[in-house]
């Protein structure tokens, strides 16, 4: 009897070690994220919403923070340390966990600019050689694979990210965002960020 109990205890430990973090909202790794990103990971500025973000994108960003390739000020200040001792396995599990939470739209952009943002998102501005965001981020800004979901993210987060490409941050990021975003004017950035913040 004692032996049996011991065996089940060993089994229980073994199982908890191999299971992913999903369904373990109390795990330390998740708690470390939600301190800043909000208990349901809906974002708490300046920390962006993680809920519903693409798994591969989240995982790539975690790697980017730990390797210091994502080098904008808040990333440097918070995320470099947060990911300093993150194992690839935990990064992978965290990405799965947050990608499976359902996202809520921030809806905090400027309503007046949303129509202009929608036009740029869908059509680009061919005369000025500005591409349509929809080509990569999808018809509903839902993202795919390593391309992030933009719909419903916070206005100020979207705005800062778009500004930062043009300011030379995240230089090692993959083609084509540094080129795309550096061509946008302040007003076009505000319009895009507004439109995107309202997408459900």
């Amino acid at each position: 009897m004692k032996l049996l109990r011991l065996k089940s205890a060993v089994l229980a430990i073994a199982f908890s070690a191999v299971s992913s973090l999903a369904g373990h909202a109390e795990s330390h790794a998740i708690r470390n994220c939600t301190w800043c990103h909000g208990t349901s990971a809906q974002g708490y500025l300046p920390a962006p919403r993680l809920a519903g973000q693409k798994r591969q994108y989240l995982e790539n960003q975690l790697v980017g923070f730990s390797q210091h390739t994502r080098d904008n000020p808040f990333s440097k200040q918070y995320m470099w340390f947060a990911t300093a001792s993150l194992s690839p396995k935990t990064a992978h599990d965290l990405a799965i966990y947050f990608s499976e939470l359902s996202p809520k739209p921030a809806e905090d952009g400027n309503q007046q600019l949303a129509a202009m943002g929608r036009k740029i998102y869908q059509d680009g501005i061919p005369d000025s050689n500005i591409v349509a965001c929809i080509a990569c981020h999808g018809p509903n800004a839902e993202g795919v694979r390593e391309i992030p979901r933009l719909g419903g993210l916070e206005f100020s987060y979207l705005q800062r990210r778009l500004e930062q490409w043009g300011e030379g941050y995240n230089k090692t990021a993959m083609h084509p965002m540094p080129h795309v975003a550096s061509q946008l004017s302040a007003k076009q950035i505000a319009a895009l960020a507004s439109y995107l913040s309202f997408i459900k």
Binding site: Q122, D123, G124, A135, H137, P139, V144, P176, H179
Partner: protein
């Protein structure tokens, strides 16, 4: 009077020589009416989606390689988008993007772009499953006689580099070719591609994947 005339003639001659030198000095790719600067800006714009050196890119949908395509093919497709002859019924947003892109281009710019992309030769994008390449080569070289599918090389060239209105397949993105061949009637409703409809229809899913994998690795 004579002196004046002679002088103005001389001026004109000098101007003409100066202009012709300037024209020769500028990139010969730039057709009449397209400056090198405008062409480069437009090339950068195209490559934002079609990938560096136009080798193709996988966005929300696969975005095809343009590098090495015959000039005539690129011109035809751009005109097809502008004139609503090439409509992608599976992905209206793709059609919309290319209509918007195309309708602001002058004929001279279309020609300059087509020539520019034709002359590029980057390595293939890669990524296709390698174990089906051999089966794909057989289909490409011999066709599938039992399904009335001719050898691809007959029209697309033995090296798959295309010819005139027939597109280059060498190095084209694997998922792009798979999508096109799988949904030919919906993706490529334009009249001048009717010739491919029965051929695409005659291929099974695994044959499409095999031939797409084979050509995607050709340089």
């Amino acid at each position: 009077m004579k002196v004046v005339r002679l002088r103005s003639l001389l001026q004109i001659a000098v101007l003409a020589v100066a202009f012709s030198t300037a024209a020769r000095a500028s990139d010969e790719k730039a057709a009449a009416g397209v400056s090198q600067r405008d062409l480069q800006a437009k090339v950068d714009y195209c490559e934002t989606c079609h990938g560096l050196s136009a080798r193709g890119f996988i966005g929300f949908h696969p975005i095809p390689r343009l590098a090495g395509q015959p000039v005539e093919y690129i011109e035809n497709e751009l005109k097809g988008f502008v004139e609503h002859k090439r409509e992608n019924k599976e992905s209206p947003s793709s059609t919309n993007i290319m209509f918007n892109v195309g309708h602001v281009l002058s004929p001279a710019m279309i020609h300059a772009l087509a020539t520019h992309f034709h002359d590029l030769n980057p390595k293939p994008f890669g990524g296709a499953p390698k174990e089906i390449v051999a089966a794909g080569k057989k289909i490409f070289d011999d066709g599938v006689p039992s399904a009335d599918v001719p050898a691809c090389g007959t029209c697309h060239g033995a090296d798959a580099k295309g010819n005139g209105a027939f597109p280059r397949l060498a190095g084209q993105l694997y998922p792009y070719i798979v999508t096109q061949l799988t949904n030919w009637a919906k993706e490529r409703a334009e009249e001048n591609s009717n010739i491919m409809a029965p051929i695409a229809h005659g291929l099974t899913k695994s044959q499409i994947e095999a031939v797409a994998a084979y050509v995607s690795y050709l340089e």
